[in-house]
């Protein structure tokens, strides 16, 4: 499972992988982000975004 951390909907800080609390950048060269995209393509949905103003 994943959760998005964001300042607001236009500014996402990172994506948290909840099993180990790793913070993943939205970067296509990052293999953890590639895995997140495959997880999304499989029909999964991240937990509601945590918004930090």
């Amino acid at each position: 499972m994943y959760k998005i951390w964001q300042k607001n909907p236009d500014y996402i800080y990172c994506i948290e992988r909840l099993e180990d609390h790793a913070m993943i950048p939205l970067n296509p060269d990052n293999t953890d982000y590639q895995e997140y995209l495959r997880w999304l393509e499989a029909g999964n949905t991240p937990e509601p975004a945590e918004e930090n103003q």
């Binding site: 990172c14 913070m23 970067n27 982000y33 930090n52």
Partner: protein, 355 residues
């Protein structure tokens, strides 16, 4: 003594940095510091080395001091639970070589360089084992068998592979330039013609040893070197600090317990607002790409505010990481603080940009 020197650039075998494998002597284990792990999925273990598996918890990996003469560490694999691979399953370990470090070999075009891989191996199970070279998409591979002749005995193996003149190879990028795979068991889907480039991912051939089927079997490897050319040169020893920096391009770990302290500081921070503070950590080597940041243990701000560590990936690049503390209260915008361990020696922050 005669020393051959070749300073040509394309597919060259320079006297230094000729080994394309990083941590080939298995001296670095930032993640586990020598502790044994029994992964449940493909996982990086010793620096730059990943275990690969189709079923969880069948293999235990550990940095070992069982070594051949001239080495201090090896990578050991032990069968944790014997298993017979199904047709589409495999077990083993691999290293991915970055395109920037292999592009000069010229794979995928006429004139691709021949490469030679050499390594020391010791196994409790004799027989033929699969090794394979593959590309990033795993649709080109060259499986080959090598033989472990005597049980529980260190033997050096040398394999020479002609460069692939076909297929798509990533070239000088930060992607996967070469994928080096050692098989410890593979089903029929992964068995292809040996000693030839083919399509798909071949990890071995019919008749290879499926080591993973043997309860308690052990397998050790060290002194791994991949170089251009048709012969194996002596293992290229690098200074520890040099090898560490090479590893830190892909993974680095900042520990708070280097002096055994329980409240070690990690970074200065400044409050953006009452609930959130931000700080910067200078990374020790330029990372391959924006890293994934992981926090282990209990952290707190200078005066004990509870909260959660996050990461601003937008401002974290290969050289600097921007970390944030959020969910606290009472901070004054613009005022300073710092992030520290909260009575724990097990606290660390890691950054991963593995291939």
């Amino acid at each position: 003594m005669t020393l051959a020197v070749n300073i040509a650039q394309g597919g060259s075998n320079n006297v230094t940095m000729r080994n394309r494998i990083i941590n080939g002597a298995m001296v670095l284990d930032q993640r586990n510091a020598g502790a044994a792990v029994t992964p449940t999925a493909d996982t990086y273990t010793l620096d730059r080395w990943s275990v690969g598996m189709s079923q969880a918890s069948k293999m235990t990996i550990q940095q070992s001091s069982t070594v051949p003469s001239g080495f201090s560490k090896s990578l050991s694999v032990t069968v944790a639970s014997a298993y017979t691979p199904a047709a589409s399953e495999w077990f083993g370990f691999f290293q991915k070589i970055e395109g920037f470090n292999s592009a000069d070999l010229g794979f995928g075009a006429a004139g691709a360089s021949t490469v030679t891989i050499s390594f020391w191996v010791r196994s409790s199970i004799t027989g033929s084992y699969g090794f394979s070279l593959s590309n990033s998409s795993q649709n080109r591979s060259y499986p080959v068998l090598y033989t472990v002749n005597s049980a529980n005995t260190w033997e050096q193996k040398t394999i020479t592979i002609p460069g692939d003149t076909s297929g798509t190879w990533v070239g000088a990028t930060n992607g996967i330039g070469l994928l080096c795979i050692w098989s410890l068991g593979a089903g029929s889907s992964y068995l292809q013609t040996a000693n030839a480039w083919g399509t798909g991912l071949g990890l071995g051939t019919t008749g290879q040893t499926n080591w993973i089927t043997n309860a308690g079997a052990t397998f050790y490897i060290t002194g791994v070197q991949l170089e251009a050319g048709t012969t194996a040169s002596p293992f290229e020893y690098r200074q520890y600090g040099t090898e560490l920096v090479l590893c830190q391009r892909y993974f680095q770990k900042i520990s708070g317990s280097i002096n055994g302290g329980s409240y070690n500081q990690f970074a200065n921070m400044a409050y953006e607002n009452a609930a959130t503070a931000w700080g910067v950590i200078a990374l020790r080597a330029t990372m391959r790409t924006q890293p994934t940041t992981a926090y282990n243990g209990t952290f707190t701000l200078s005066y004990g505010t509870q909260g959660t560590l996050i990461n601003d990936a937008n401002q974290t690049g290969g050289d600097l990481a921007v970390i944030g503390w959020t969910g606290g209260s009472g901070g004054a915008a613009g005022s300073s603080t710092y992030i520290r361990a909260n009575n724990s020696t097990a606290v660390f922050i890691s950054f991963s940009a593995e291939l």
